[in-house]
Symmetry: C2
Subunit: 266 residues, 2 copies
């Protein structure tokens, strides 16, 4: 496997080639900087309308970037030449809402009735925050972002339902306005914060005990700022207990040819 | 039927009551100012995913405000207490892509597999333009907005496909920047212009001969500015030739309890 320093200079297409060949099967943060990475959800078409509805009703945690029609595995829009059965570094396969296992590709279990959803990922706005010299603590600490299950319910969409799950980044008080402004420009990758300060108001008892990911330090003069998290749709998906569904393995995202800046509003 | 001057002061709920009783069956522009009106598309659930996909891939002409699950006729989100079978002033019923006729209500032809889509309507941003003293010519002239079929294709969504259809408003050169800024704030009601000036570049040969609606005067020093139009999804819908679909009759919109300002971005 090439070292991360080498691969980080490659284009999205070159990285996807390595992934397809099985040469790269590690997490994707830091790869193809400047290009949008996406969450992937694949499920039979009988569930697709309900899932689409859940995402539409909860756009902050579930921003839909693209959808492939039933049976389609080639992506022609934001990553031409891609095969969704092979071009994600690692897949999670769920049956009846339970993880069955992970795979490096899903060609053998592909079904003609599979619909693929690509959802935006917060890597895009983190890059924008860093460009504005706003610290992103979990990146500084080399950790996964801390994630918390809140008491805020999502709106139901057919069989899919669940709570809003959030990520937390500690932001210095004097940079919160700028952090709101910057992330507001990226509604397709979770957008503006959903909550600022007072974690107890959204059902988070202890910041040092995240439900997923790693705890990070909140320093003197910093306020915890919460953004909607892409784990939200995964949790709602599993609550619906579809016979089968496939997602990327967390952190092992799909890398598109779309520039982060193309996802920004005016 | 009450005079428009009387009805224009009524709340959305009061107007919907009149519509439900059959007392009001006329067009809705100018009613419940400040509240969002919506385009309505109702079709069997076997077509719903394709139509959702078409809308998602063409968000400027087809901004989805809300979707009701299969068989649901009560709106609980943005207009509680509403029955979509009775609360639109007039409905168009299409079979196989052809207009069969119009109706004052659709209770008799309602099907348990009907899915209802509400799409944003440009009345919302016109109100915002007027507040900023930007002229809206067809309102000044008491006409319907001019609409044109362009040579810009929409992205296909399943069986639904068709060209982008645009509305045109002549804007004084020195107010175009402001018109772009204002309408950019309303992505859920067609948002920013899709084209400014040079109608021939998008396949419009003669502004005085719109494909739908009425021609309006373009004065010296004004530039024609084009916005995506809500007729686009209707045309794509009919191209797909669903066995049955129902829409509002043009101009006879669904009036929601949502404030226009709630549809604005930051």
């Amino acid at each position: 496997m090439p070292y991360r320093n080498d691969i980080s200079r490659l284009s999205p297409r070159e990285i996807r080639d390595l992934i397809r060949k099985g040469t790269w099967e590690a997490p994707t943060p830091g790869l193809a900087m400047g290009y949008a990475q996406a969450n992937v959800v694949i499920l039979p078409d009988r569930y697709a309308f309900d899932f689409f509805l859940f995402c539409h009703r909860n756009p902050k945690p579930c921003p839909v970037l693209e959808v492939l029609e039933s049976g389609r595995y080639e992506v022609d829009s934001f990553a031409p030449g891609t095969d969704i059965r092979t071009d994600v570094p690692r897949y999670n396969v769920f049956r009846g809402g339970t993880l069955e296992g992970t795979r490096k590709d899903i060609q053998e279990i592909w079904q003609d009735d599979f619909v693929t959803f690509f959802l935006g990922c917060s890597f895009t706005f983190e890059e924008a925050l860093l460009r504005a010299r706003i610290p992103v603590r979990h990146i500084e600490e080399g950790k996964n972002v801390p994630m918390y299950i809140t008491t805020i319910p999502c709106r139901d969409g057919g069989i899919f339902r669940g709570p809003l799950i959030v990520t937390m980044r500690p932001i210095p008080s004097d940079k919160i306005t700028r952090a709101v402004q910057i992330t507001s420009r990226y509604p397709f990758v979770h957008g503006a914060p959903v909550h600022i300060g007072s974690p107890e108001r959204i059902g988070i008892a202890d910041l040092s005990r995240p439900d997923f990911g790693d705890a990070v330090e909140v320093r003197e003069g910093e306020i915890p700022v919460f953004w909607a998290c892409g784990v939200t749709p995964q949790a709602a998906l599993l609550n619906g207990k579809p016979d089968i569904c496939i997602t990327h393995t967390p952190g092992h995202m799909f890398i598109s040819d779309m520039l982060n800046e193309e996802l920004a509003t005016s």
